[in-house]
Amino acid sequence: MARPGFTATADRIRAAAGQAAAAAEGAGGLGLGAVATTISQSLRGTRSAAAAAELAAAWDTAVSTWSADVAAHAQRLTDSAGTYQTNDTEAANRFRTGLHRAR
């Protein structure tokens, strides 16, 4: 059986992963690029219109990649929590096995 401190840490890592996943989901579908496109279409014939069109693409890319990267980060945290607890349990089992043999 894992020690209580290790279990608590693993749980906290899982909680952090959950928060990261929530952040990734919260940023999804933000529609920033659409707003920049509106700006571009409102200012015909300007340098700003061209710049706003570029911004629309840049923002959409930035949001989607950030959201995906945060989701991946959440998954890595979840994986780390599992590995962290598994390693501790295996180590504990090895010690218990050694103790029985000594008796």
Binding site: G5, R12, A23, L30, T46, L55, A62, S80, T83
Partner: protein, 570 residues
């Protein structure tokens, strides 16, 4: 390059919508602040994996902060450009309205074409149309200048946001990044056109948003106060705001000069400190006089305050020049100073305004009247405490030369043009010139100014001997010569105005009007504006566009015999 057609097509309401949409998206991201903070590696997790997780989290958080900072910057800039577009379209609408009123059309490329030329070949009409066309062109130049400037600013903000270059500050939160980023979205306010004409200045002012105008008045009143073409209310507020600071600067200068004199065993014998001190004291007295004048009952506007020259210059209006239907600008002559003359001239202008207002209501269009005392030039000064009215005749500053009148006339012409340019509808504008000030006025009116009527009184010459040079409508140039006014017979700057063909003589004699009013005679050189005088009455009816009610007189006396110009010599 932005065109007029582009500006017409811009959509500020959609920009407002984008402004609101960006706020909503920014707030949604800021709402993730707690989740993002809680996603960091927990306390108690140590080792290489924990260190790597923290680094990855911090990098993701920084990307989020950059994004939020960019949104805030773009949002603020979008709000500002929306205001700017509204101001630009408003200014364009005013320019197009002015163009249409005079038969011109503004194309999408910004050219001004004559689509309804008048059937009249009247030279005054042609001059007025040429002046208005030039004003429309100047206004369009300022509109396009502002449009290009604000476009460049906005495009720069958008570009920095796209590249993730908007500074997000040093704090860990998204809210903090938003606040920092917003500062990067401030678009610059374009300054007035360098050496701009009155129409340039009016065009520049027209394209600023209300917020930009307010900020400029608060921040830079010195620049605004002397810009012909700006609304009178703006100039008044800006110039009034300067009074305390100008006084403090003059007091400091006075203390410095006095200390110099006190420390110098020879006083001001070998320096100019004593003369400079006299000038500073006179300017302080001018500020006193201006403040006293502005506190008089009734509306006053301080349209000009310039302390850079040897003597203070100022212009004070009685009434509201922005809204008055009739505006008369009075330019005085020899010996005029702000500290010494403004009190009496302002009283004269207040009385003239009341008289003109009465005539307007009783017999005219009922329109409102504003009168202006313009001491906006260095008028010649007598010497030896007034005993020598000519000053040093070898100096170009002497009253016997026209140098000061020419220089003042140039500024006065711009002041006239500024009154028309500052308003969406031109007032009926009358130029009044007395003594050497009539010569200054004469030089001013040899330019296109928009002045509708001119009255010269006690004039030593109009700066020309030919009425055709005075660019007001034909038949709208008047003179008044009182009995025993030797200056009016001098013919120093052009021939005696009495003999200038096409200039109508108005009476300064005792008269009884058809409605029974009795008016007093003015005699000598300095009573033309006396209350209840025929001279003042005549000036008032011209000033409110009632020349048919004038009382004519050729004003000829003995002096006019000697001032008769020999035909063919002028």
């Amino acid at each position: 390059m932005v065109s007029v057609a582009d500006i017409r097509a811009w959509r500020p309401d959609e920009l407002d919508g984008a402004f609101d949409a960006l706020a909503a998206r920014r707030d949604r991201l800021i709402g993730l602040d707690d989740e993002l903070a809680a996603a960091r590696a927990p306390h108690g997790w140590t080792g290489a994996a924990a260190t790597a997780a923290i680094a990855a989290h911090d990098a993701l958080a920084e990307r989020a902060r950059r994004l939020v900072a960019g949104i805030s910057a773009v949002r603020r800039a979008t709000g500002e450009i929306s205001d700017a577009v509204l101001a630009l379209q408003r200014a364009l609408g005013e320019a197009e309205h002015l163009a249409r009123a005079y038969g011109f059309a503004v194309s999408g490329s910004g050219t001004v074409s004559d689509v309804h030329p008048p059937s009249s070949a009247d030279e005054a009409v042609q001059r007025e149309r040429a002046r208005v066309r030039a004003e429309v062109v100047d206004r369009l130049e300022q509109i396009l200048r502002r449009a290009s400037d604000v476009d460049a600013d906005f495009a720069a903000v958008l570009g920095r946001a796209a590249r993730g270059e908007i500074d997000d500050g040093t704090g860990p939160s998204l809210a903090g990044a938003s606040a920092t980023g917003e500062g990067a979205g401030d678009l610059s306010t374009i300054g007035p056109p360098p050496d701009g004409t009155a129409a340039d200045n009016a065009g520049w002012w027209a394209v600023l948003s209300d917020e930009e105008r307010r900020a400029l008045i608060d921040r830079d009143p010195t620049v605004l106060g002397h810009l012909d073409g700006l609304p009178a209310a703006v100039r008044d507020e800006a110039n009034r705001a300067r009074l305390a600071g100008e006084r403090a600067a003059l007091l400091a200068e006075r203390n410095r000069l006095q200390a110099d004199l006190d420390d110098n065993w020879f006083g001001g014998t070998f320096t100019n400190a004593d003369a400079a001190l006299d000038q500073v004291n006179a300017k302080l007295a001018a500020l006193d006089r201006i403040e006293t004048t502005l506190s008089q009952p009734g509306e006053r506007q301080l349209l000009l305050l310039d302390l850079a020259g040897e003597r203070a210059e100022a212009a004070v209006a009685v009434g509201n020049v922005d809204t008055a239907d009739h505006v008369a600008v009075f330019t005085p002559g020899l010996g005029s100073t702000v500290d010494g003359s403004l009190k009496d001239y302002d009283r004269d202008m207040e009385q003239l305004q009341r008289q003109a207002q009465y005539e307007s209501k009783r017999y005219g269009d009922g329109g409102s009247v504003a009168t202006v005392t313009w001491i906006g030039y260095q008028a010649p000064q007598p010497a030896l405490g007034g005993w020598n009215p000519f000053g040093n005749p070898l100096s170009s500053d002497s009253v016997v030369h026209d140098d000061l009148a020419r220089a003042g006339g140039s500024d006065l012409a711009e002041f006239y043009r500024g009154i028309d340019a500052s308003r969406t509808t031109d007032p009926h504008l009358t130029a009044l010139g007395h003594s050497y000030g009539s010569t200054t006025t004469g030089f001013a009116l040899q330019e296109q100014t928009g002045v509708d009527d001119a009255v010269f009184f006690g004039s030593p010459g109009l700066g020309t001997s030919h009425v055709e040079d005075i660019q007001v409508p034909q038949g709208h140039t008047y003179r008044i010569e009182a009995r025993n006014d030797v200056v009016a017979d001098a013919g120093q700057f052009g021939i005696d105005p009495t003999y200038v063909d096409g200039v109508t003589g108005l009476s300064a004699r005792e008269e009884t009007l058809p409605d029974g009013r009795r008016l007093a005679e003015s005699t000598g050189h300095s009573a033309y504006l006396a209350q209840d005088s025929t001279s003042q009455y005549n000036i008032s009816v011209v000033a409110v566009g009632l020349p048919d009610r004038r009382v004519e007189d050729d004003g000829r006396g003995l002096g006019d015999v000697t001032s008769w110009p020999v035909p063919g010599t002028y």
